[in-house]
Subunit: 333 residues, 2 copies
């Protein structure tokens, strides 16, 4: 019998999740049935989208139920197998949740190659954030060489990869992030052409200075005023790619929408939302592409790894909303 | 020498234009030079876009200058010609402005065939509103048979044609308009499948009832709460076509944007703005198409013709913003 600690949703939060949101529970897992594997979770992915899963609303995935183990994507090691596709010692990725151990029937579980990249990188540049950056820019945004791309939350998991992929495709890339340290990372470590510090600069004005011809692609991870600042600076035929709106994730009611949305008409521009899971059958193509960029040093994976137990999940998650992380935020058990 | 009365912009309005906005002036036109025509204006088009032209802001056309003759699209008769392409008696359309007579060099002046349709219809279903409906639905919206289309300001010049074109292409069409009389027009005269009276009904809830599978194309002429109501009821892959935002045209500052814009992400939908002039080289295709629908009775042109002098321009224009018109609003001199 395997004992596992798990984090469950205790009650739906209003605003920022806090200690009352989570329950730390212990459970004994049953014996494996035929066709099942037992995995030991090594790395838990912390994602802004998790905040949305806590609300009881219709969205692109069902909400996490009260009393359920919190949903998360993990990198794990197979420690017992009664499944012909998996052997003990395999490194896998799957939605095992915020738990130390989990039993799975292997559906939607993928093997990852530890020789290509570390577990955290498989949750970052080679995981959902990398997939989101790749398909958002190239498929939804239809990036062409020579274009000007602006990325918000640019020091985050998705933004840092999106900006680097855009650079690799010949774009001029401007990143928006909060604080001087993140901005320094953007230009010095990730190779962005310029950075705007939204905490200390007038974003609308700075974008006008940095992109006097206008923005071809705005890759939006934040919504709010920064989305408006980008809308005011579009170029004809621009594409706004909606990837998320972290600025509003903890709001109880809908914040005002982008008041400058009629720029879409003036600039004959489009704003398109997407959900990366729609591209699941093409993840292999993106993984191959990003692996090459990682291997030749064109793209730097960057993870912010917090070491601890599953009990640290709640406070680690909130780092996303206070902007404490640079790169992909991961909890290493 | 020809004397002409004209309406000029006296001062830029704040909010709804009023008597102080306009000057009625009289001018003597010079003799025609070689290559020029003199036209007598018969019908003046009243358009919501005119409100935007009064603001001193960067937009898709330059603003009308203070002291200048108000810009308008007209149907006129050639009364004198020193231009080889035009003969006396030709009926033409052009941006002659709010004036009784005008001199033109013939650039951007098109001959219209009075045997195909009347002057007002050449400003409506066969004019800019018809072009806007046609390219907005078919090119920007990429309408396919069997889809559900929602049109706002549906009893207006663009909306009434858009809904009828959508019906002709095999769509289910729901119109949104203000008041029972307009809604009756939509279903009984224009053949819409259903109508929602935004003055007396909860639009969000009614759209959910009328389109339980969601909206494929939302053709937006109004912005504001109605845009939000549509965003809340999209179907996967929906296209929101931004044609205008009459609800905000008289606002001094930007109203809140669509707070439900993140529905674009949930529904993998897009919102795209367009300006019909971009399709100018294809107007012939749209005129041919709409002429056939008019000829076989599939599409009913509907104009709201006010008879009077150019001095009535100001009060006639404001009918657009109080919603007093059904169909294309035209001032007949």
């Amino acid at each position: 019998m395997t004992k596992t600690q798990q984090v469950r949703l205790a009650r739906r939060p209003s605003g920022l999740p806090d200690a009352d949101t989570w329950d730390l529970t212990t459970e004994e897992l049953p014996e494996l049935a035929a066709g099942e594997i037992l995995v030991k979770v090594d790395f838990i992915s912390l994602d802004p989208a998790m905040r949305g899963w806590l609300n009881d609303v219709r969205s692109y995935v069902p909400p996490v139920g009260v009393g359920e183990v919190m949903r998360s994507l993990d990198i794990a090691t197979v420690v017992e197998s009664r499944h012909s596709d998996f052997a003990v010692g395999d490194i896998v990725s799957g939605t095992f949740g915020v738990t130390e151990f989990a039993i799975s029937d292997g559906k939607n579980v993928g093997k990852v190659d530890p020789s290509v990249a570390s577990g955290p990188t498989w949750l970052g540049a080679l995981g959902m954030p990398g997939m989101t950056a790749y398909f958002g820019l190239l498929e939804v945004g239809k990036l062409r060489a020579g274009e000007t791309v602006v990325v918000s939350a640019a020091a985050g998991a998705v933004g840092s990869v999106a900006g680097q992929i855009a650079k690799a495709h010949g774009a001029t890339v401007i990143g928006i992030a909060g604080g001087a340290e993140k901005c320094r990372w953007l230009t010095e470590e990730f190779g962005f052409d310029a950075a705007v510090d939204y905490r200390n600069e007038d974003v609308l004005r700075r974008l006008r200075e940095l992109a006097p011809q206008g923005i071809d692609i705005y890759f939006d991870n934040v919504g709010g005023d920064i989305l408006d600042a980008a809308l005011a600076n579009l170029r004809f035929g621009a594409r706004v790619v909606l990837c998320g709106a972290i600025s509003a994730y903890n709001d109880d009611k809908l914040p005002p929408g982008p008041s400058r949305y009629m720029s879409l008409l003036v600039f004959r521009a489009s704003m398109t939302g997407f959900v990366v899971m729609d591209y699941a059958d093409r993840y292999g193509e993106a993984v191959a592409h990003i692996s090459r960029l990682l291997a030749d040093g064109t793209l730097k994976g960057r993870e912010h790894v917090v070491e601890g137990g599953v009990g640290q999940f709640g406070e680690t998650l909130n780092m996303l909303f206070t902007g404490a992380n640079i790169g992909k935020l991961v909890l290493a058990l």
